[in-house]
Symmetry: C2
Subunit: 320 residues, 2 copies
């Protein structure tokens, strides 16, 4: 049972001191490794790990082909500013091979998890000599996985999986007592720039979680384009999270006077404090129409756009 | 080439006189038959046909299992008030048999068309001795079918199909020069009650056009329940049309703290004059949330609700 630290009672300064100490004690004189996706959780863990271990922490960005447009460059540049060097590891082929032919959301997650922890990290850990993987699991990930709502890719112990046996390395989770709001507080205290620690959440399986059905390179490219529109237009909305989902269903549309059986993008935009409950943001209709128009203009083969109007629960924030 | 009669130039009184004369001339001393679905077009044609032929027109309501909740009773009662007797023909089994295993929208339409014109009407025409079928095809149906946008179930001649050869009877289409607004004007002049001639359009393939994927009795029942909620809550919206669509895609939801992989209902509500172009109605967010809440509460296995925000074109009014 993990003891939650609420954001009110959280003293970021002493939390950081304590976790730095924990990480040093755990890693000892050895080396550790961590994967930075550019999200709030992994960015905070990167800063915490570097404060604890300095150059003994190797930080990598896994290019899995499922990230948003320009993501690798953005993350590398941002952390260079912070004095942290990030190595980009090319792994697109491995992930798309593993995802081939898989439509079931849980099987997609599992394919990504196995590729990430076994194949890609198994090799990286061996090459680097690290004994520990630092990662940004938070309490909501654990809760949702244990409750059977959604298998988070980064939760093992609570499911009875020993990473040492399964993958050959230990996993350290310094943020596991916190929820999203607590992580933001800690990230701020660690000097992360505003645009980063206030970034909207992005799921572990990345854009593979944003397509219903098979995550092919083509379908991922489609939802990547829609995601760019949604993020550009909703950046100033103040919402907790916003996302584009590519549906597998085809619907009737018309272009140049002819029927076109095309795809549908669903836009979700959420008001939430901690992701446990959430309500659709009451966006102005002008903005909803602009979202639809720009997606229809910029994303090939899309003829229909919808906006989610259901709350969590019974919806969840992501669709897959 | 059909010569359109615009609603501005349409004189309902002389239009009715002329069409009554046309129908009498075509049917002569014989009998005719027509199918009344309860929509604006078929209701107007029913009144026009009865004015022309009286008891020599047999009006039937085909219970195909794809109609909205309580539809047969409603239509029969309404026309009884108008002095028109409507016979309900039970044909559920025939339609669901024909729809079994079919997911493609065009094949669904074709299955319904064949069942309707060949099986059900083939028999009815034989039994009644009628030589003519009166039906409410309008110009938009013809346009969309000819342009290849959507195969309307009631368009034959323009596709090179001779109903006499294909089905054994002639088809008379007194409304084929009109669009929806013109039909309403004529319906009003024929004494149809407000609740009927101002009714929102409903597609020929009925609820089969409101499910993406196979139209099983269970899936039709699901979308029937969602349709009842949408029609109840949007009745006073003043919109041109509103509808519920059951998607085939499954999305993640949660009920009682557990993950539930469930269905999604898409709500569409349109502002339009003549259905050729249309924009999503700018419904208040309170109403959008109420729509979602009531659908989630009343329709089993639904965990997500969206609202269409794309205009026609490139969307179409219906999804299938």
């Amino acid at each position: 049972m993990i003891k939650e630290i609420g954001v009110q009672e959280l003293d970021a300064g002493s939390f950081i001191d304590e976790k730095v100490e924990d990480i040093r004690r755990a890693v000892g004189e050895g080396r550790a490794i961590n994967a930075l996706s550019g999200g709030v959780d992994s960015s905070t863990v990167t800063m915490l790990g570097h404060r604890a271990l300095g150059a003994r922490l190797q930080t990598v960005f896994i290019e899995n082909g499922l990230m948003r447009s320009g993501e690798a460059d953005r993350v590398v540049a941002l952390f260079r500013e912070l004095g942290v060097s990030v190595e980009v590891v090319e792994a697109r082929g491995q992930f798309f091979d593993a995802l081939k032919g898989i439509s079931d959301p849980e099987q997609k997650r599992e394919a990504i998890t196995q590729t990430f922890y076994k194949k890609v990290f198994g090799r990286l850990v061996k090459e680097s000599g690290a004994k520990d993987l630092l990662q940004g699991t938070i309490l909501t990930d654990v809760d949702e996985t244990v409750a059977g709502i959604k298998r988070q890719h980064n939760v093992f112990e609570q499911l009875g999986i020993d990473p040492q046996k399964a993958f050959g390395y230990r996993i350290l989770e310094p943020l596991v007592c916190l929820r999203k709001d607590g992580v933001r507080k800690v990230g701020r205290a660690l000097g992360l720039p505003v645009e980063l620690f206030e970034r909207i959440p992005f799921p572990g399986p990345a854009l593979a979680a944003r397509v219903i059905g098979e995550a092919t390179p083509e379908r991922i490219e489609t939802v990547r384009k829609a995601t760019a529109v949604v993020e550009r237009l909703l950046e100033s909305s103040g919402a907790f999270q916003y996302l584009a989902i590519l549906h597998e269903d085809k619907v009737t549309g018309m272009r140049e006077g002819k029927r076109q059986f095309g795809g549908q993008i669903e836009v979700r935009c959420w008001d939430s404090v901690d992701a446990r409950t959430a309500a659709p943001t009451r966006l102005a209709f002008d903005l909803l129409e602009r979202l639809a128009q720009e997606i229809l203009a910029e994303v090939p083969d899309i003829v229909s756009v919808t906006y989610n109007i259901a709350s969590k629960p019974p919806s969840t924030i992501e669709a897959v």
